[in-house]
C-alpha cells in the first residue's frame, strides 16, 4: 500500500473540482526560473537491503579513533539502558504526538525533562526543547526582542566566547527579522570579554554569553550578566549542561541571574552521530514564559482528582496564534529529550558531577602533558572545564593529519577563530589515562 493513500481517481476528482489539469498546475505561480525539476546529488530511492549495506560501509569509515575533538559536541559514555528504553515502541517518535494528551507517558517524560533542565540551569521554566544549541540561540534572541519591548535597536551583543557557528545560525534565522549581531571586545590574554572596552551606550536588546566559552575558558559571567542588565538588555546565558554539575547555573549568574538560558543538549545522552540529530534546551524566568517558543508540558489534575499531564500555554503556539506565534520554525526533539531524561535519571546529579569531574581531570592531564612538549603552550591563561585552547608553533592542519594517520582525532583546528596557529582539545570521561598518554606521546613524536 502506498504511504499517500490517494488513488489516481481521487487525485483526478480533486483536480477536476478545482479546475486544474494536473498537480503541476498548482505550482504555476512560481516562476519557472525558481523551480527545479529534480534534486542534484540526491539519488533515486534505494531498497532497505541496499541502504543498510551503504550505511554499514559508511559507518566503517568512521573507525574507532581516539577523539579529542569537542568544540560544541562531546563524546560521553551513554549507559546502554538509555537507548534501550528510548527506542521502545511507546517512546519511539520524533515528536510529541498529535492528540498529545492521549500519550501521558510521553508528556510525563517531557515534564520530568523540563524539571531536570530547570534545576540544572537554575531558572523557573523550561520548554520541551528545540532543534539544537544554535537554533536555540536564534530563538532566544527573538524572544528577547519580544520581552524587552522598550529597546528598539534590535542589537544583540555576543560575548567573544559564543560559538561562532551558533552566531552564523542565529544570523541566518533572526538576521532577516530586524536583528543585528555584534561581538563584544575581546581581551587577547584571557580570550574573554575585555571589560575595559565595553560600551554601555549601544543600547542592546540582549547580551549573550557562553560558559564555558567556545575556546574553553571561563568567562566572568557574574560581572557580564550585571553589565548586560545595567545596559537595559535581556541577558541570555548559554551553558554546557554537563558543566552545570560543577559550575554556577545561569539562573544565579550576577545579582539577578540571566533571563534566558539555552544551549546544546547533546552531551546528555545523545551520541555524536556525525552532527545530529541533537537537541537545544531553553529555560527562562517565570515572567517571560509567555514569550518562550516551543511546547511546554504542565502537570494538572483531571475531573476525578487524578494527576495528569497536558500541553499548556498553547495560545503562544503556531497552530493557534499563527503569525503572532512565538515561533513558526521550532519543534521539540522528542526522542533526543527522552534519551536525555533517561540519561539524567540514571546518572542522577552525583553521577553527572562525576562525569564532569572526570572530564575535567582528564583534560587537565592531557593539557599538562601536551604543554610539556616543545612548541605547545596554553593559548589563554586561566581555568577551564573540559576543553582548552593550545598554541602551536606551526600550522595545525598537518599535525592533525599526522595524528589521524595514527587513529587519533587530535582536536579542533582553532586557527581561524583565534587568528593564530591554535588547537582546541577535550578529553571527556570516556578517555583512560592510557588513552591520554598515547595521545601525548603521538603529539610529542609529531612535534619532535
Amino acid at each position: 500500500m502506498p504511504f499517500i493513500p490517494h488513488t489516481e481517481k481521487d487525485t483526478r476528482e480533486m483536480l477536476d473540482a478545482i479546475g486544474a489539469k494536473s498537480i503541476e498546475d498548482l505550482f504555476d505561480e512560481i516562476p519557472a526560473a525558481l523551480r527545479i525539476d529534480h534534486l542534484h546529488h540526491v539519488p533515486e530511492a534505494m531498497s532497505e537491503m541496499e541502504i543498510s549495506r551503504l550505511m554499514r560501509e559508511r559507518a566503517a569509515q568512521d573507525g574507532r579513533p581516539l577523539c579529542l575533538i569537542g568544540a560544541g559536541a562531546y563524546e560521553h559514555h551513554i549507559p546502554q539502558a538509555v537507548w534501550d528504553i528510548a527506542t521502545r515502541g511507546e517512546y519511539y517518535s520524533a515528536y510529541t504526538p498529535y492528540q498529545a494528551e492521549a500519550s501521558q507517558g510521553t508528556l510525563q517524560t517531557i515534564y520530568e525533562y523540563q524539571t531536570m533542565i530547570t534545576e540544572l540551569t537554575g531558572l523557573d521554566v523550561s520548554n520541551a526543547s528545540l532543534y539544537d544549541g544554535a537554533s536555540a540561540l536564534a530563538e532566544a534572541a527573538l524572544m528577547a526582542v519580544r520581552v524587552n519591548r522598550r529597546v528598539k535597536t534590535g542589537l544583540v551583543l555576543l560575548a567573544p566566547g559564543v560559538n561562532p557557528v551558533y552566531e552564523q545560525v542565529a544570523r541566518a534565522i533572526a538576521g532577516t527579522q530586524g536583528l543585528t549581531f555584534e561581538r563584544l571586545p575581546t581581551d587577547a590574554a584571557s580570550g574573554n570579554v575585555d571589560f575595559d572596552k565595553l560600551d554601555a551606550s549601544l543600547n542592546p536588546v540582549a547580551v549573550v554569553m557562553q560558559q564555558p566559552t567556545f575556546p574553553g575558558t571561563l568567562e566572568d559571567v557574574d560581572r557580564l550578566t550585571d553589565w548586560g542588565h545595567a545596559c537595559g538588555a535581556l541577558v541570555i546565558g548559554m551553558a554546557n549542561p554537563t558543566s552545570l554539575a560543577l559550575l554556577k547555573p545561569p539562573g544565579h549568574w550576577g545579582a539577578e541571574g540571566v533571563d534566558i538560558a539555552c544551549g546544546e543538549g547533546q552531551p546528555l545522552g545523545v551520541p555524536l552521530s556525525s552532527g545530529g540529530p541533537y537537541f537545544g534546551y531553553m529555560t527562562c524566568r517565570q515572567d517571560h514564559v509567555r514569550q518562550m517558543p516551543g511546547r511546554i508540558v504542565g502537570r494538572t489534575t483531571d475531573l476525578d482528582g487524578n494527576p495528569g499531564f497536558a500541553l499548556t500555554l498553547q495560545a503562544r503556539e503556531q497552530h493557534i496564534r499563527r503569525s503572532k506565534a512565538t515561533s513558526n520554525i521550532c519543534t521539540n526533539q522528542g526522542l533526543m529529550v527522552t534519551a536525555a531524561t533517561i540519561y539524567l535519571s540514571l546518572l542522577g546529579f552525583e553521577g553527572l558531577a562525576l562525569v564532569a569531574r572526570r572530564s575535567h581531570a582528564n583534560t587537565t592531564r592531557l593539557v599538562e602533558g601536551l604543554c610539556a612538549i616543545d612548541g605547545i603552550e596554553r593559548l589563554y591563561q586561566g581555568p577551564y572545564f573540559h576543553e582548552a585552547a593550545l598554541r602551536l608553533d606551526r600550522p595545525v592542519a598537518p599535525v592533525l593529519e599526522a595524528l589521524a594517520a595514527r587513529n587519533i582525532l587530535g582536536g579542533f583546528d582553532l586557527s581561524d577563530y583565534a587568528g593564530t596557529d591554535a588547537l582546541l582539545v577535550c578529553a571527556t570521561e570516556t578517555k583512560t589515562d592510557a588513552d591520554i598518554d598515547t595521545c601525548i606521546a603521538a603529539f610529542a613524536e609529531i612535534m619532535g
Binding site: 519591548r149 522598550r150 509567555r290 498553547q314 495560545a315 503562544r316 493557534i320 496564534r321 503572532k324
Partner: protein, 131 residues
C-alpha cells in the same frame, strides 16, 4: 447577555471606548467578545507611551484555547494600562465595561465618532451575528 452600556461607543471588532472628562478615551473589549473567547488567562498589555493608530494591534487577550488581538479604536498614545489584568485577566470576563478596562489612550486628533458605532448600531451587529 446584559444590555449594552448606553454611554459607550463600539467597533465592529468588539472593542468599546468611553470618553473621559480629560479628553482621553478608555478602551476595553465587549461582553460579547469576552464570552466568545471564554475564560481569559492572560492579557498582553502595550507599553505606556506607545503610539497606536486606528485599527492597529494594541493588546492581546488570551483564553485557554485562543489568542486574539485587540485593535486600537482610535489614533493616539497609550497613557495608562490596567495593570490589574496581569494578575487577574478574568476581570475582563467578570466586568468587561468596568474593572476589565484595558487601556486609556490620549487622542492624537479629535475623536471621529463617525468611524465608531453607537450602542444601537452595535446591538444590531450582535443581533445579526446571532442569526
Amino acid at each position: 447577555m446584559n444590555e449594552l452600556p448606553g454611554d459607550l461607543l463600539y467597533t465592529s471588532e468588539h472593542e468599546w471606548l468611553r470618553r473621559e472628562d480629560d479628553g482621553s478615551v478608555t478602551v476595553g473589549i465587549t461582553e460579547h467578545a469576552a464570552s466568545a473567547l471564554g475564560d481569559l488567562v492572560y492579557v498582553e498589555l502595550p507599553e505606556i507611551g506607545q503610539d497606536v493608530e486606528t485599527g492597529g494591534e494594541m493588546a492581546v487577550v488570551e483564553s485557554v484555547k485562543a489568542a486574539s488581538d485587540v485593535y486600537a479604536p482610535v489614533t493616539g498614545t497609550v497613557v495608562e494600562v490596567n495593570e490589574d489584568l496581569s494578575d487577574d485577566p478574568e476581570k475582563i470576563n467578570a466586568d468587561p465595561y468596568g474593572d476589565g478596562w484595558i487601556v486609556r489612550i490620549e487622542l492624537g486628533d479629535s475623536l471621529d465618532e463617525g468611524e465608531l458605532m453607537t450602542p444601537d448600531a452595535y446591538q444590531e451587529l450582535l443581533d445579526e451575528l446571532d442569526d
